[in-house]
Symmetry: C2
Subunit: 553 residues, 2 copies
């Protein structure tokens, strides 16, 4: 007879889970925790503003202190993030900040926030390292400022309100969050600075201010008043539907027929597509959705995945950067010699639409030799764990660089931006994207496209330089040969070798004139190349001409 063996079971709250496993959310050490806290709060602010097309004014102040908190490399830092967003309804403030899995981001809509827990995690981390409450001040109606001092009951996953006061506001809406956490600023300062710099590149319509612990203030001024269109919520695409999703839609619908159910609830399904699908799947157009059995639901979902005539998700609900913003940002930040962009049409994975935008910058004074990758997703700069990202994989493993004859140490920056209603992050910390095949394909195509463009630029530049060299030699020796030939043939008048060259410029070079400036050279050599027949470039042809010239003159 077997012995019974006791095992204890327990249930933990979502707060508790992420408290225990905070590495998962990007809070793996004091440096990273400080960085992650800052960015999660800044992203909440930017999302809030953009949702209502408010031109964002966001400031982030990081102060050392209070002085008494110190442990090893860690020091207490107080972070204050303030925005001019729409504010938060007072009744939602405690839960929005004090409860994991409670938020406004659980929608099919492009936003920086994806898991609806970044702000709460920052507050939780602050609490478990300094025991200090977070202070949230928000004005929602433009009249009253609500101030909350709060802690989180981690075991119960709920806010503990220590203080709730109201004040008259200054007439504007907005939210500020102030928290104190143990962090390692020395080891995160660079990442934080990079984060703000890169955020400014992709958010040129925002005023962003960073005040560092030493008092240094960096302002990224608004460069345009045009905000991108606010991202729209969208219906799910049929290819992304699973059994659970369909069951919920059926439960929620009031439609009486399957056809109407489809056209009302699915992304880009009209009457025609709906009818085609239903006949493909073997369901009547007038059947009541609520009459579907469990087996029917599975059959319906499998058919949704197999039917190939659904329109692909459109990108109208997305808000990509666009060529203008992206190249402006790149030019401003990297000042390259060459910049090019590839913006892919909308695509989709598991029914989620996404758009890939890839830019390339080459040369200039700021870029160092070698390839630098800058990654963005839904306008968030991704700074950690580069080697894990799908873009890194594509660029380093999937692209046959040899084909593009780009020198290994060429000074290049590749900038990738993926926007989607659901960015396929591999961790809650939002640092890198999963290698979904659809995403790989778009990234690969865009990267190949920009590399082709760079390759053309470089080979043109290279062949121009090569031809310039040849022309130099040509221009140098031709007059001598002409003189020699003239003298050999006993004539006195030099032949019109200048016509042969047809090149005022070469003559100029020959005569020791100064070379034109670098930028101009390209244009002039361009002309040189155009005017010389391609035959001239061939060794034997040149030889032949020289012979003819000698004979003929």
């Amino acid at each position: 007879m077997a012995v019974t063996r006791q095992v204890t079971y327990s249930e933990i709250s979502p707060s508790e889970f992420f408290y225990r496993n905070r590495d998962l959310a990007g809070f793996s050490n004091p440096a990273r925790a400080l960085y992650t806290s800052v960015r999660e709060l800044v992203e909440n602010s930017l999302d809030a503003c953009e949702q209502f097309s408010i031109l964002p004014d966001v400031s982030c102040k990081i102060e050392a202190g209070p002085e008494d908190n110190k442990a090893g490399d860690q020091l207490a830092y107080t972070i204050t993030i303030k925005d001019n967003g729409p504010g938060i309804e007072p009744k939602h403030v405690p839960n929005a900040f004090g409860r994991v899995f409670y938020g406004s981001k659980y929608k099919l809509k492009q936003s920086r926030g994806m898991f609806g827990m970044g702000g709460t995690m920052a507050i939780l981390y602050a609490q478990i390292t300094t025991n200090k409450p977070v202070q949230i001040a928000s004005c929602f109606d433009g009249k009253t400022l609500h101030i909350f001092d709060m802690l989180i009951d981690i075991t119960e996953n709920k806010p503990i309100i220590l203080r709730h006061e109201t004040k008259q506001s200054e007439g504007t809406t907005g939210t500020s969050v102030r928290l104190t956490l143990m962090g390692d600023y020395l080891r995160s300062a660079q990442k934080i600075a990079d984060y703000f710099k890169q955020t400014a590149v992709v958010t040129p319509y925002a005023n962003i201010t960073l005040i560092e612990p030493d008092g240094k203030e960096t302002k990224y001024e608004r460069a345009t008043e045009i905000t991108p269109p606010p991202p729209q919520e969208t219906d799910p695409h049929p290819h992304g539907i699973d059994v659970e999703a369909l069951r919920r839609m059926i439960k929620a619908t009031n439609e009486q027929t399957l056809l109407k159910f489809m056209t009302k609830n699915f992304h880009r399904v009209g009457e025609k597509t709906g009818e085609k699908f239903l006949s493909f799947a073997g369901f009547g157009r007038n059947a009541n959705p609520k009459s579907l059995s469990n087996e029917d639901v599975v059959k319906f979902v499998n058919a949704l995945h197999q039917f190939e005539e659904f329109l692909p998700p459109d990108g109208s609900c997305l808000s990509p950067l666009g060529e203008e913003i992206m190249s402006a940002g790149i030019m401003k930040e990297l000042q390259p010699e060459f910049v090019s962009m590839s913006i892919r049409p909308p695509s989709a994975y598991s029914g989620f639409p996404f758009i890939v935008e890839v830019g390339i910058a080459y040369g200039g004074k700021l870029l160092q030799p070698g390839m630098r990758l800058m990654r963005f997703a839904n306008r968030i700069p991704l700074l950690y764990d580069e080697a894990n990202d799908v873009a890194f994989k594509i660029i380093n493993e999937e692209i046959d660089w040899k084909r593009y004859r780009i020198p290994q140490d060429a000074p290049i920056a590749i900038i990738t931006h993926v926007c989607s209603t659901k960015v396929p992050y591999k961790t809650v910390g939002k640092e890198y994207l999963a290698d979904r095949p659809e995403l790989e394909k778009e990234l690969k195509n865009a990267t190949r496209d920009i590399l082709r463009k760079l390759s053309t630029f470089l080979s043109r530049k290279g062949s121009m330089e090569f031809q310039k060299k040849r022309l130099n030699i040509y221009g140098k020796y031709l007059p001598l040969i002409a003189k020699f030939a003239t003298s050999l043939s006993g004539q006195k008048k030099l032949p019109e070798y200048r016509k042969l060259l047809k090149r005022e410029e070469v003559v100029r070079i020959e005569e020791g004139e100064e070379q034109p400036s670098e930028a101009a050279v390209d244009v002039e050599v361009e002309t040189a190349k155009d005017s010389m027949s391609s035959k001239v470039n061939e060794k034997e042809d040149a030889q032949q001409r020289l012979e003819e010239f000698s004979k003929g003159s």
Copy 2:
């Protein structure tokens, strides 16, 4: 006056969160989902057995079907995992399998499971792809088998029991889980096979059977009856305590003095260390723990982190593989020419003890040229996302391979095992470990150690081969030179050059005898090397001897 702008907030359940973000738990596509489901259930079985030192008998059967389920590359597969573990108390079965964040793994204890949600996620994934209930049959008391058919209410995060029946059991305890999910077996078959193979390497005390959809049965037979000691639950180490943890400990304690509180609740804190710490931190040994203010708690925690005289966590609660199991596994699986192991003493990160074990295998017939990395954590083979793992980083970026003069294409396998009460996984999918500095250090030291050993082996092997070559030449020409010198000097009797060689073996080689077998060669050349003075190896010495020989004879 600003306009109010409505934002809707909602709360989602933990099931809902992971349903929406199943990528986070390793369910990112049909191939990976199938693989992850299998391993999560197998790992639950092994954990359950080992907890009570039961010699595990685990079988996994993967069947295609039911036939009617098919969508694109996906097909329905039915997985049945069966073990002879302790069984699960019937009252816990529904929640243990049907509720996220409910489990037996929320303890400071080494186990394969870490997040307490793998089994539930597999069931959830099965449900949302095939709508079929999971069937769990478990016998806990050796008498009655409880059979449950269940679904998960994802919105509410709770089990829906469709059927609960009891049967008389066959007198043994154990659990079986049977679920049907849409998967892509073609694309996961190799990983699943690798998973079982590698699991067998580190679990030689288990019988493991894999039955694939085509009926192929692979049995990994038990090779030893010795189970590793079951991992022990442990108190938290002072360095890993945060404010929240301390607050909970204070709330739970019945101790009246801080000193007793410390010695009872902290890992390896005795009276002496406790007293030293309390005086360092500025607290009285007899103060009541419950009298600590909020500020005191923070001060106490910061002091815990700063005090350097705490003993490091011991590894007694851990269950490493050990040299014997590890090298047996390596020899069996890889059949290398050379194997070596480095087992580090216990270390700790954030108060969690861990042990690093690294093995190296070189040569033999199975290893391909180049370096192969095999990673394990708490006896789990980690097969995905290798490039993200701390071990990959150490081996490829932090180790100066040149120092060890190991050829780039040498056939090498490096096997790393990290065991800990909390493995620092970077994702819930448990595929790779975070680069915690403490872990990096131990991995680096262990890797250097094994590389040194391999380097010694190779240089010895290399110099042996070099000497063997020299001896061959020596043995070949010396008789000729002897003859020549003898003839030159007009003498008839050959000098005793054999004495000079002192090498029966060399003579054998000279006389065209067969070379001894490879393994033997090493030993014999070893002798050769020992008996020849090192001077003989020097070119000029050899030259000099030859001259002396000619003169003297």
